[in-house]
């Protein structure tokens, strides 16, 4: 087989290449030819086709994502904004934090364990590549119907994979989500967020500056993972009739990645790294073209020096391989020896594969012959941009008109009680311990709050107590009813969750999971969600620092609910001041902060009790969210509240249930005047939280709320101790949640309903 060199390409201008099979459109292929002034070689075609794919080039989403930069609020906290591998936020005391969320949806459906595991692996490498030590992960998950047989394959596999990889890396898992909905049946969402910490001076960017600097590939050997279509190029005839033998799914090696983390951090500490890039999607194609494109000069790579796991790989395949646990760094020549020495110390294979040149081209050689000669920017940054048509779907009017006000409400206290139990025991509201107990939340010894708390919190400085809090949220049901509002509600909830812990929200990362961009309705949902999120970030003063777009989440014509998942990062000066969610002291007063209205569109109640989705999602009031957050943060700082829990799906009663169960304490609630008990308990009005206030702080706390104009209603008291009632066999004397005049629900009964659901479903 003749090697398709650049010279060969010039000599055989009319050779047919399988550009369509590799996913390029006709005009895109024409542009490649125009850029190069000749037909591309097989290797060049491999690079352009993978780098210009939706996944790598963001060609459908770019025009909408722009808003996150254009509308970004002024923020002194932002050290590195959108566009890098992950954003970097200043959290004070010389510390910077980087965090990012990514999706690994499709692979997790095909091979749940490895798909989810390599999802964690990928996002962690993004964080290391910024120069930070990864300190925690979160995992927002969306699964199909809980009782569907395939969910029994996917969820346990995904959870084992996330745990298997994250636990083995030694990263505490401090939060996430588990949401079930039939719309995710053939297309579960596995998103993963990683957060890392560094000193300001340690920030590293992906660029290859300085002619003569060496390009070093280190980590795992390169195998034939995830190269899909590229294997077509390996055969001279480009025979598309033969099925590819190359696997579409990668197997992760968390042990190798742990070594990669420690090794990379040591390389940084010794100042040996000029530029660095992790290898993720599109492997070496991406790493070399991005490093070169971000730098000043060109780059020359000897591809045959790449250590291989499978010696039969063709150069095209090596360029496209997505083998995991690899990094690519640029180092000054005199530092290479020390670089390799540190890699050896960590048993990490490292190879000089090329160098930075003073030219302007990315040149790749195979046994001395040139197979790639391209301007790197055209591969990495100047891919196609689409203005996809989008249109508000016709069905939306009918959906929004289907008002939940028409749904039958519980007739009396007994019916209400029964529905409270059903909502608390529904898989979406039930305890997630079955999942989260499979994750290590203690490792690294700095976890201050972890699931089921509203937000996870990590201490980053042992002396001062400086810490960060994180939460992720996204309600696809709300977004289906109104994607603009849905995205804002996702942000609002995540922001509220962070504030509830006592941390001040600073910055945002987002994972936008949507259907096919070629469907104008899905594209409209995407456009609306971007607009909504960008607008809301401006109002709340929290810039989007980075994120991920996942399109084509659909089974046949059936798209998932539009699901923008939003992660918010907050900072707290002293983690000792954190506010947990548990009610712990009998006699403390319960206050409901915010306004409660009749809002049931997309609610948990309408889903659980009526299987209904219609109407409008709860109203967004970002100014109110901001005020609520200020109050929660002040109350934490000044020690005015002992517990706080945000209100979201399931409404007030769900929040009170969770706080009672967490602390093993009961509560007596009084329905405020003028509120219907059903609305009081189940409404999902936004901008609300419930707090437990020590009696000694009541005046100070209510004065603060009044002075700042935040409605605060005293709704009850913490009452009854589960431990005291245990074993007496007398439920009436044990702890309970009592809604005066409506019902009394013993904690034991509530706990059973809340905690048995997932174990019963998944074993």
């Amino acid at each position: 087989m003749t090697l398709d060199t650049t010279k060969h390409a010039e000599q055989t201008p009319d050779a047919e290449l399988p550009w369509a099979e590799l996913g390029l459109k006709e005009d895109e292929y024409a542009r490649v030819r125009e850029i190069l002034g000749r037909r591309p070689t097989g290797a060049e075609l491999a690079m352009y086709s993978v780098m210009w794919s939706e996944h790598c080039s963001y060609k459908s989403s770019k025009v909408h994502l722009k808003q996150f930069g254009e509308k970004a609020p002024e923020s002194d906290a932002l050290l590195v904004g959108i566009g890098e591998q992950a954003g970097v936020v200043d959290v004070g005391q010389g510390y910077a934090v980087t965090f990012k969320i990514e999706s690994h949806n499709h692979p997790s459906y095909v091979e749940p364990y490895q798909g989810a595991a390599t999802g964690i692996g990928g996002i962690v490498r993004d964080i290391i590549a910024m120069g930070a030590r990864p300190v925690a992960v979160l995992d927002p998950l969306r699964l199909g119907a809980p009782d569907h047989p395939d969910t029994k394959r996917v969820l346990p596999g995904v959870v084992a994979g996330i745990g298997g990889y994250g636990n083995c890396l030694g990263l505490p898992n401090i939060g996430g989500e588990v949401v079930f909905d039939a719309c995710y049946q053939g297309n579960p969402l596995v998103n993963a967020l990683c957060v890392g910490v560094m000193k300001h001076e340690d920030i590293h960017l992906a660029k290859a500056a300085g002619a003569g600097n060496k390009v070093i590939l280190y980590g795992a050997r390169t195998g034939g993972d995830g190269i899909g279509g590229a294997s077509l190029l390996a055969s001279e005839t480009f025979d598309t009739s033969k099925p590819s033998k190359r696997p579409a799914v990668q197997v992760g090696d968390p042990f190798q990645e742990k070594l990669l983390i420690e090794c990379t951090l040591e390389l940084f500490r010794e100042g040996l790294v000029t530029g660095i890039q992790d290898l993720g999607a599109a492997g070496l194609s991406c790493a070399t073209s991005e490093l070169a494109s971000n730098g000043s000069g060109g780059m020359r790579v000897e591809l045959d020096t790449v250590p291989l796991r499978d010696s039969s790989l063709s150069p095209e395949e090596i360029l496209m391989s997505e083998s995991q646990e690899r990094m690519c760094a640029v180092a000054e020549p005199e530092k290479v020896d020390r670089f390799l020495e540190i890699c050896e110390k960590w048993d990490v294979i490292a190879t000089v594969i090329g160098e930075v040149t003073d030219g302007e081209r990315l040149e790749i050689y195979w046994h001395g012959e040139q197979i790639v000669d391209v301007p790197p920017r055209t591969v990495a940054h100047e891919g196609p941009v689409y203005q996809r048509p989008y249109a508000r779907p016709g069905w939306l009017d009918a959906l929004q008109a289907d008002d939940p006000a028409a749904l039958a409400r519980p007739a009396d206290g007994d019916a209400l009680r029964e529905q409270v139990l059903r909502v608390a025991g529904h898989p979406n509201q039930a305890s997630k311990s079955w999942v989260t107990d499979q994750y290590d939340r203690y490792v690294l010894g700095d976890t201050v709050l972890a699931q089921p708390e509203d937000g996870g919190m990590i201490r980053i400085d042992e002396e001062s107590g400086l810490g960060v809090a994180l939460a992720t949220d996204g309600n696809g049901r709300y977004a289906k009813l109104d994607p603009y509002a849905g995205a804002q509600l996702a942000l609002a909830e995540s922001y509220r969750n962070v504030a509830a812990t006592g941390a001040r929200p600073l910055a945002v990362t987002d994972c936008l999971n949507f259907g096919s961009p070629e469907d104008p309705a899905a594209m409209w949902q995407f456009a609306e969600a971007c607009r909504g999120l960008a607008d809301a970030c401006r109002t709340l003063g929290t810039p989007v620092t980075g994120g991920n777009v996942s399109l084509y989440n659909q089974t046949g014509d059936l798209a998932i609910h539009p699901t923008p998942v939003v992660g918010v990062l907050g900072v707290i000066d002293d983690v000792a001041r954190r506010t947990p969610m548990a009610f712990r002291e009998e006699g403390q007063l319960l206050y409901l902060l915010g306004d409660t209205r009749e809002e049931f569109g997309g609610s948990a109640w309408s889903q659980v009790v009526h299987g209904h989705l219609g109407g409008r999602p709860p109203a967004v009031d970002l100014e109110r969210e901001r005020l609520l957050a200020e109050i929660l943060v002040s109350a934490s700082r000044d020690g005015m509240v002992d517990a706080a829990h945000d209100l979201s799906d399931g409404g007030l009663i769900q929040a009170v249930t969770e706080s009672c169960l967490r602390g093993g304490k009961g509560a007596r609630l009084v329905v405020p005047d003028g509120l219907d008990p059903f609305v009081f308990l189940f409404s999902e009005s936004q901008g609300r939280a419930v707090v437990a206030v020590p009696r000694s702080e009541e005046v100070r706390f209510t004065d603060m709320c009044r002075a700042r104009d935040l409605p605060a209603a005293r709704i009850g008291v913490v009452d009854g101790d589960e431990a005291a009632g245990a074993g007496t066999g007398d439920a009436a004397d044990g702890a309970a949640i009592e809604v005066q005049g409506c019902f009394r629900l013993p904690l034991a009964e509530l706990r059973a309903a809340h905690e048995r659901t997932l174990p019963e479903l998944f074993g």
Binding site: R133, G170, Y439
Partner: protein
């Protein structure tokens, strides 16, 4: 992240000078090594980092084999680490009476070296489990448990995949008869361990292994309790009086 400067904040029994230097081994894939170092520090001792390729112990007075997934737990938990150069020195020192504590993966390493009997299997429910675990102290006479009292109950985190302690009946009977069961799970057996055994010791009482993680119960803020501090204060006291 742990700061590098060891700032002693607790009132441990560690005396300055030669007694109180506690080595913490880092194998490739060790995860709770920094946490073990912090626990030593909070107990008043001086943590000393030991590297798996070290051929000597740098004059430490005791050694902790920390938790984690050394070598990815590939093959069997602890199976590959056991052959590290540093382990030869640790085995010699342990035979000579030096206090050695194996936590979780460290316990697995100790059984693989046969310093402690038995072996560890996958948890009976086949899931990784992370929970706050109640334990009963059955033997307060080892180098690592002197600050507890027999029958005392403590709560520390437990987190592992392969925590099911097994041994043949004769070995189990012997461990019981010789008082070498140091900790037992109470309330709930989280992994199917025989006879609820959470930790054991060698004949001399200087080598202790357990699956739960005392080093994660040394601070109010980050652990469920501070019940784990006693391990480290115990050994520091022992070193002073030794």
């Amino acid at each position: 992240m742990t700061g590098t400067a060891p700032t002693s904040t607790a009132t441990g029994a560690g005396a300055p000078g030669s007694t109180g230097r506690i080595g913490v081994v880092t194998f490739p894939g060790s995860l709770d090594d920094r946490d073990a170092q912090r626990a030593v520090r909070l107990a008043g001792g001086e943590p000393v980092a030991l590297w798996h390729r070290d051929t000597e112990l740098h004059g430490v007075d005791a050694v902790v084999l920390p938790g984690g997934f050394s070598y990815g737990d590939y093959l069997r938990a602890g199976a590959i680490s056991r052959f590290s150069p540093v382990m030869e020195s640790v085995i010699d020192a342990a035979r000579g009476g030096m206090p050695v504590l194996g936590i979780c993966n460290g316990f697995q390493v100790l059984t693989e070296t046969h310093l402690l009997p038995g072996a560890m299997l996958r948890n009976d429910h086949l899931h990784f489990v992370c929970r706050d675990q109640r334990l009963r102290v059955e033997n307060a006479g080892t180098a690592w448990t002197g600050d507890y009292t027999r029958g005392q109950e403590i709560t520390v985190p437990l987190k592992n995949n392969d925590g099911q302690f097994v041994a043949d009946e004769r070995t189990l009977d012997m461990l019981e008869a010789e008082g070498r069961v140091v900790f037992r799970y109470t309330g709930l057996n989280p992994n199917g361990s025989r006879r609820d055994i959470a930790g054991i010791t060698n004949e001399a009482g200087n080598v202790v292994g357990l699956m739960p993680h005392p080093e994660h119960a040394v601070e109010e803020l980050t652990g469920p309790t501070t019940d784990g501090l006693g391990f480290f204060t115990s050994v520091l006291k022992k070193l002073v009086t030794a």
